[in-house]
Amino acid sequence: MAIDAATVRKVARLARIRAPEARLEPLARELSVIIDWIEQLGEVDVEGVEPMTSAVQVKLPLREDVVTEGGDPAKVLANAPLAKDNFFVVPKVVE
């Protein structure tokens, strides 16, 4: 099995998704099925092949480094779970 419960715990932590202890083993089995299946890519000879990062080769465009839009805190905060005085209110970060 490619992935064990400890690995799931670590990856879930990296992804910031709470994974209850009871789910770790079943998740490890599910993810292993997928990873085992993916392993078949090992058969492909990719010697000297450049990785493909985009479907269409275009030079990424640059724009002038100027302000285009902004200055609308009401819009920015419109969907905030919690906001006050034009700021997002978030849980305490610094002890």
């Binding site: 992935i3 998704i17 709470r18 998740l27 492909v44 450049e50 493909m52 269409v56 275009v58 724009r63």
Partner: protein, 493 residues
Amino acid sequence: MSDLTSLTLKAAVEGLKARRFSSLEITQAHVQAMQAARALNAYVLETPDKALDMARAADERIASGVAGPLEGAPIGIKDLFCTEGVRTTACSNILGEFKPTYESTVTTQLWRDGAVMLGKLNLDEFAMGSSNETSAFGPVANPWRAEGSNQTLTPGGSSGGSAAAVAADLCLGATGTDTGGSIRQPAAFTGTVGIKPTYGRCSRWGIVAFASSLDQAGPIAKTVEDCAILLKSMSGHDPKDSTSLPVAVPDFPSFVGRSVKGLRIGVPAEYSAPGMPAEIQALWDQGVAWLKDAGCEIVPVSLPHTKYALPTYYIVAPAEASSNLARYDGMRFGIRAEGRTLTDVYENTRAEGFGEEVQRRILIGAYVLSAGYYDAYYLKAQKVRRRIADDFAKAFETVDALLTPTTPSSAFALGAKDTMDPVTMYLNDVFTVTANLAGLPAMSLPAGLDSQGLPLGLQLIGRPLEEGTLFSVAGALEKAADFRVKPRAWWRA
């Protein structure tokens, strides 16, 4: 005038322009059809007031002689497109009651051209699924049922709501998005037409991101020509999407009906998977025969890396998704769950807000990108992806388009997913995912019914930016197939 819902988009736009009926009339007819079809669960948000307001404005523009190419035509929008002031959820709980303060580029262009919005359409959560069953709003029911059966079937996914709404005449056309087959597979399952254009043809700005190097918007509609009309409005360069291509938009509708005589059509040997149902093979053979009759030359081709496309996809797509979906942290929009520390809040919000399949894909993505595995999985997949794209480039040296089946089966039952392992479900996209990896335009159109009376689709794949050729070939196939069957309206309240 309930007949107005059975019109094609083209006939509707012509009728509106000739003032045989008003946008208010055709919009009202669609609102009624939509409200009477809640059993299908195709719309997750109906916007009848907005629709009628937009229809009145369209009627005024028609009266003053400034009608756009879609003026007054009511359409549905996949709930992955941000619509200003109208709830947009990606059919995920994590977005809660999110109301964008901006409009996606694609929908902006549709409204610019006069289209009317009926509502937001159901999809698999964050477009991750092939059966619409991962939606937080529950699955869509396929308007089609097998002959003599009352069993509810999947409309496919992820654009299941879009495909079902078009098949059941609940809109004249709909937007979809396609990351691994999410326009073409539902189109095939519902007897509708869908096209995923070349990567970069439609702006991704304002569309909830799944896998950025694969995502592309496109239409689902009743006919090939309707798809061409919609795609023309949806396409075009947008400086707000750096991958949007700065190229002119051809007059796609003018390609439909052109002669296909002398075109070379490739038939890839690798798409004839062992265990493929005889009916699918028969349909494919029929498609080849139709194109021969239309004067095409059929050329056997080989795409040797086809079998590696799905495993490649299931590295690239989850990796990009795990990165894209990092933004759902409960701080700036969407839901926020309680927790003792900041990390607790993140972890609880994401565990509560994301469904099972989305969590699975984020975990896969985080795993393949994590330290020590990046080269083995992600980098390797990016290299295999180039091999797959190179196969196509080689084939297109000798052929103008490729013909394949769209899916390995017709629509399956809702609930079948529960007995399938994830990989079996993923295999649904075996014929469609290659075009996403290579960035090529690809289209599905209905070509016949299977022995249970369910629609089956044929797929055409084209060279980059040659959607026009696809529209010509699809037009020829559509004419030969003469697919006019509609599902029986069992859902009508």
